[in-house]
């Protein structure tokens, strides 16, 4: 085994241990009474956090590989904002009754399908046409994000106050109110797309070389990229449905993963990103909730750190040019 691989493997082992410790602490710290109830309650929440961490980390890595850049992520491109927009549209045209009274599982599935279809069209237009410059894509992404968010906010304003309240949940990231009914559906969906993704995993490394080199090595580029983008869209939809949009989380964990493992190969970066995601969410929630007794701050802390990372990457990119 070569030195770089040894280092990457060592990093993975350490991250694995830290992630496991975070999960255990999350489950057992500060349990006062009623172990049975607490463990089920916390277990559900833990599972949700892990699914979210996994979905965001994997979708971000895949997205960056396909677009051959290290700054853009699905959420920076405004695709979780798209999900919020869809939710708002549902309330706007069907009333909050639709959001609340319809069986959440079919509704969720429908949202995932609509979101995937929408994102697929947008992604294809952006990434399967001519090669575009990174700066243009950052701009397009920011414009899309602002457009989707403002459109949602505008329509929310037109709603009556009752309906607005039922929308709030969807508009802000929250790790405390996770819909347990959706959790099992999410697990099944995530497992299913992961199985599909597993078939593409060897092609991912080749895609890092860029479109031209991948084609010349015999990758059926359009098909492969379309499939990966579909996987990304589903994962984004799942994580956004569970906790709401978090703009910079994916960027934060994937950039850290790259820094820590050194090598850009997917065997290392994918698991490292997922483990870092779990550490951030589960460990962060444990520290804030159990140690400092804060309840809502995690999303803000993550956004702040992720935002700093985004600025640092942009400045580094600018310096290199």
């Amino acid at each position: 085994m070569r030195a770089h691989d040894r280092r990457a493997l060592g990093v993975l082992c350490i991250l694995g241990v830290v992630a496991a410790v975070s999960c255990v602490c999350f489950m057992v710290l500060g349990v006062k009474a009623g172990w049975g109830f607490i463990l089920t309650f916390r277990g559900t929440k833990l599972l949700a956090l892990v699914v979210v961490a996994y979905s965001i980390a994997v979708s971000t890595v895949l997205f960056q590989t396909v677009t051959n850049n290290r700054i853009l992520t699905p959420s920076i491109m405004g695709f979780d904002a798209l999900f919020v927009l869809i939710q708002t549209l549902v309330v706007f045209f069907l009333g909050s009754v639709a959001l609340v009274s319809v069986d959440p599982v079919p509704k969720f599935l429908a949202e995932v399908v609509v979101m995937t279809a929408f994102a697929a069209v947008l992604f294809r237009w952006l990434f399967l046409g001519a090669e575009r410059s990174l700066h243009l894509m950052v701009l397009v992404g920011i414009v899309f994000g602002i457009l989707f968010r403002n459109l949602s906010a505008f329509m929310a304003r037109l709603l009556d106050p009752n309906e607005q309240v039922s929308l709030q949940d969807a508009l802000f990231a929250s790790f405390n109110q996770i819909d347990a009914t959706l959790l099992w559906v999410s697990c099944v969906i995530v497992a299913a797309v992961s199985l599909l993704g597993l078939r593409l995993v060897r092609r991912l490394d080749v895609l890092m070389l860029g479109r031209a080199q991948a084609v010349s090595l015999g990758v059926d580029y359009r098909r492969t990229v379309a499939m990966i983008l579909a996987v990304v869209a589903v994962l984004v939809a799942v994580s956004t449905a569970l906790v709401g949009p978090i703009t910079f989380f994916g960027l934060l964990v994937v950039s850290l993963a790259h820094l820590m493992v050194g090598s850009g190969r997917h065997v290392w970066v994918l698991p490292a990103s997922v483990l870092l995601g779990i550490i951030c969410l589960v460990g962060g929630q444990t520290v804030l909730e159990r140690v400092f007794a804060f309840n809502t701050a995690l999303a803000i802390v993550i956004e702040f750190l992720g935002g700093l990372m985004f600025i640092a990457l942009l400045m580094k990119g600018a310096a290199r040019r």
Binding site: R2, L209, Q213, V215, L217, R265
Partner: protein, 252 residues
Amino acid sequence: MIVIEGLRKAYGSTPVVDGVSLRIPASGITSIIGPNGAGKSTLLSIMARLMEADGGTVIVDELDVTRTKTDLLARRLSILRQENHISSRLTVRDLVGFGRYPHSKGRLTPEDAGHIDRAIDYLHLGDLADRFLDELSGGQRQRAHIAMVLCQDTDYVLLDEPLNNLDMRHARGMMQLLRRAADELGKTIVLVMHDINFASWYSDGIVAMKAGRVVHHGAPDAIIRPEVLSAIYDMPIAVQDVAGKRIALYYE
């Protein structure tokens, strides 16, 4: 043999490849020369199905490049483009290993490992094999990319300005290596060259392009002539015979 028939490509209303028809014989080195913007890179990209033409065909050994399955073609024809941007960190050995992807789809066999070691050896990358690409000089990185293409072990090899960034020793070593690949293994090698003297010394045939058209195609003797070169490059170029080869002098 590569047969190109009526190839056209335009950006907007500006033709970049303008009705190119060409026959490149199998086994041997063919160099494409011509001023900047003549359409050499575009032609090479279209030949390797990296870019779509507006019209015309490219046939490599009876295979139409736009119709053949891309993974089948990847085992027959390889290309190195003029510029290669990789956003992630890879070692030289990782990169060279990708050359085996068309054959083993990412599961490297012992035979693949042999190919990789040999390619690394040929390009004198042994000491650098475990370095990351972003820790190399431009010339070292260029050699790593060429090692990857050679590792693909295809009958047809297209290289766009392979001598970019290489020092004299490595440039000569590269051309000798390509010459051996053509002579001993029967490879068909197509190069885009800026150093016309290297092209003259090592090629079997030279194709001269200007403004999207092929203006000359022949043996080095027929192309490396003062009147031909002066017309291609729009400047006076003298030619002398040195050790039985033709050398262009254009420094003053």
